[in-house]
Symmetry: C2
Subunit: 143 residues, 2 copies
Amino acid sequence: MQIDTYLRGKGLKITPARKSILEILLGQHEPLDVQSIIKELHTLDIQSDPATVFRTMNVFLEKNIVRQVQLMEGKVRYEILDQKEHHHFICRKCESISDISDCNISILEKKIEELKGVAIEHHALEFYGLCSKCLKSTKRKSV
Amino acid sequence: MQIDTYLRGKGLKITPARKSILEILLGQHEPLDVQSIIKELHTLDIQSDPATVFRTMNVFLEKNIVRQVQLMEGKVRYEILDQKEHHHFICRKCESISDISDCNISILEKKIEELKGVAIEHHALEFYGLCSKCLKSTKRKSV
DNA sequence: TTGGGTGCAAAACGTTTGCACCAAT
DNA sequence: ATTGGTGCAAACGTTTTGCACCCAA
């Protein structure tokens, strides 16, 4: 299985929990917090402890398998760290999260690096507002 | 005093704690977490409870006096919500925080709004990496 | 066999809340 | 006098840690 070789390649032991967590994150379109991961594991008939999931996420972070996402919720979400960079749009009404992949931050980063003499390694960018659906329903009501 | 009139204008009662917290935030160049605010209050010989500071910050948030900043620390920082938009650069080595004020995100926002049909109300943008000082010392060592 | 992963419980934090008291209007 | 802010303690949710046990290598 490729998940096994992938984990082995990262120098990690293969365990049912790790494999399932990785599969869940790979099949996910939005970043998940630990409780959601546990819920997803439960639907696969795998029960797991928060401590284990947190520890797994910290290992995945060190190995650059996932990255953290913070959405002003008082908790951390995790998502697969894949090649194509993207950001998130969070609707303040329906709380949906959608990907924003067409904004080229790297140009901006280069400008800042030159201007400030810093080396930017990564960034966090999230947009908050009303999604198209909620925007329409708001307009309807206000008319 | 103008702080008094400002708070009164926001419909808030004036108390020593509130005035001092506001003054501290106004005189600060980087966003502060609640513990740091309490420490600053202490240097002014004002002792205050975390609960009070958290409550004050929540009131300030509602009144649009401050905004929250999250820097992947597991806690929230607060900074005065002023007219000129800026972002933050956090050095992973010396943990210094500097303002980045010359990046025009609004152009990007308009593009996203058109493309996705959403209404962006605000955003969070932080850059992480090495500041110019730490970058230099890293280079020196590696040579 | 051995190093490392796991579950459980406890602890550590940041943050919120209930309540009695006190201060600003 | 009344409204609302404060301190203290307790509660809450997220995340970490210690320890004994168990599993993958």
